[in-house]
Amino acid sequence: MPETVSATASVAPWSGPDPGRRRRTTWPQWGLWLMALAAAAGAVATTVANEGLNGLETPNGLKFLVGLAFAGSGLYAWGRRPDNRLGPLMAAVGCLYLLAQILVQAHAAALFTAGVWLSDAWVVVFVAFLLAFPDGRVTERFDLVVIGMFALMAFPLELAWLLFWTTGGSPENTLAAWPNDTVAGNIDSAQRALVVVASVVLAIALARRWALASPPLRRALVPILVGAVAILLGSVLVALDKFQIEFPTARWAVFAAYVAIPLVVLGGILRSRLARSTVGDLFVELRADPSPAELRDALARTLRDPSLSLAYWLPQFRSWSDLDGRPVEMPTDGGGRATTMVDRQGEHVAALIHDPALADEPELLDAVSAAAGIAIENGRLHVELRARLEELRGSRSRIIEAGQKERQRLERNLHDGAQQRLIALSLELSLLEQELGPDADAGLRLSQARREIATSLGELREVARGLHPAVVTGHGLAVALEQLTARAPVPVRLTVAIDERLPEQVEVAAYYLVSESLVNTAKHARATSVSVDVSRTNDQAVVEVVDDGIGGADTEHGTGLRGLADRVEALGGRLRVWSPSGGGTRVRAEIPCAS
């Protein structure tokens, strides 16, 4: 699960630790849902009961929608973001609103009184909601003062008012201890004045907060602007109400605003869920093994954030780097960027650096970072695999080269050592023979000895050639192949289409290939002719040996082709054998050699 760390911590968007809990809606939340629905139903019922269906055509009659909107959105948000208190706050606003509405319609006096007292409770919670937006925390003392002002109006002052106010009918205010219309009226005026002042202060505070936010965050803070407007308008209406001035349009506007706020919040959360479906497209795109740049583009498209950048974690250096391997600084607080970690198996793999407003949509970030994690791991595995293969090829090549160097050394030793000495020895015997003159017996024995030495020399020559074909290193492939093919037991058509020398390893491999293939042909193929072609295409040396024998060559057993294939492959080349039964044999090696 990604953990989103915002760079603007003071106005951290919807987030919280361990969002894994948010998927499950708990029993208390279900209970509140039911209550809210029941309350809304009840409100509708009581309105209809008291005023008939016409009652539903005024803002007053439709008030229950506000309560329902807040309760519903709040509960939904609480379910999806369990650690953000905005959800419960909104739900509380809605529930208190509906509760008060029902109680006020009751006939029982006690309930009615309670309803009246609670009738402004929702405002306090609503103000707290606006000030806590969007991370659900109220931290500044100034905010607490504002809330306090509204609380003062809603609770103590209301209670005081209730002590003096009477309805003059049924149901009756049970708290009316000292009925006094004047005092009640004054307290009421004080309340309204306080509301107006507090509303203005609140509106200014909210507007200021919005204006100070970075552009990406302002999008997320739109609800508080609407809230500020609603509060201001509402307070103006409250004031005018005192003077019995009616503004139906204004009332509808306030009503609309109050319904809109929770719906806007709800919309934000739903949009995040909808956006998650585009992640399906992302997976299809990522299937094609994208390059790091393509990956970044695909992620940016899905997140609808063109400013997205990817940073990769390098465990061996313990640092972050960008697509090109250059070091990257993680965004710090207040930098206007947010970071979402991409983890695989509990380890950091990469980080998405994006617009902080995106943290509003944790489901989307979740899904996208999971997709990114898979793609990155895939890409990394590919890179690792290629690196390992390169390493293996390198070490294999080194081993073969070491072996060859050793054999070359041995061949040199033979040539400069035993072979030279035997020749010198033979020469010495000849000179001795000459000195001895025509003495038949000794001369014969010396001749015999020289013949033995000659045989040894012949054998040593074969050994040396088997160790390393010095003629290849010394004089090139063309020269070496001429001797080789001339000695073949089958007519050979040799074509060497290369004028310049090839790298030593390549020439030696080609030599052994032809040598081995000719041996196979002689041993197994029963051919009447063989062709040997050496050519060069682009950056590859191509060696082909084709015979017209019985085919059926087994590449695994007894043909030495496996060893040849190893040698060719260690040079980065490829060996192929076609040997259909009865159809001759073709051995072809392609070995890369840069010019």
Binding site: I423, E433, Q483
Partner: protein, 214 residues
């Protein structure tokens, strides 16, 4: 006859010097590198040079390259290349377009004193000396058609010795035949192979080798 030797093995250098000395040839210079050899050839103008195909520093083909250079710039100096391995291709490289004053022998041959001295003298006087193994490799090469089918066994023997660079007299001595018999065989061979009969021994060496190689 004045000889310069280029050989990096001290043993063989000494041995060769002694061998040539006791057989009437004068070793006017001996060295161990190709550069040294070229220097000595310029200084002493020998009749023939005996050079190991494999010389320092890389021990690849310094000797051969020096031989080719001497052939190019000092055409009157015979070059006899000694090698521990037999390579048809190398012999052909050395001969290029003329077998005159050129020789390629397996190093082992030096212990066959008579033959070796004869070969050195041949090369010094503008003839050729090609190692028998080279010739037999070419002769016994498997071919789809056998161009030598028309030759008799005796003629093949004569052909072989011809290809080694021997003179008619040399062939006669080797096969214990009369000179006239050899001459007859030679013209018969040339006729059967369709080769133009040529004057100098070295010319026919090249002709035969090229013929056998194709």
């Amino acid at each position: 006859m004045r000889v310069v030797i280029a050989e990096d093995s001290v043993l063989l250098r000494e041995g060769l010097t002694q061998l040539l000395g006791t057989n009437g040839l004068e070793v006017v210079g001996s060295c161990a590198t190709a550069d040294d050899l070229l220097l000595k050839v310029r200084s002493y103008s020998p009749d023939v040079v005996i050079v190991d195909i494999r010389l320092p520093p890389t021990h690849n083909d310094e000797g051969l390259r020096a031989a080719l250079e001497i052939r190019a710039h000092h055409p009157d100096v015979g070059v006899l290349v000694l090698s521990q391995y037999v390579e048809v291709g190398l012999a052909m490289k050395l001969l290029a377009d003329s077998a005159e004053g050129a020789g390629y022998l397996l190093k082992d041959r030096i212990s066959d004193v008579e033959e070796f001295i004869a070969a050195v003298e041949r090369v010094a006087t503008g003839g050729s000396a090609i190692d028998p193994i080279i010739v037999s490799t070419l002769l016994t090469r498997q071919r789809e058609d056998d161009p030598l089918a028309a030759l008799t066994r005796r003629e093949r023997e004569v052909l072989e010795l011809m290809a080694e660079g021997r003179s008619n007299q040399g062939i006669a001595d080797k096969l214990v035949l009369s000179l006239r018999a050899v001459e007859k065989y030679v013209s018969s061979i040339f006729g059967k192979l369709g080769l133009p009969s040529s004057g100098r021994d070295s010319r026919r060496v090249l002709a035969v080798l090229l013929y056998l190689r194709s």
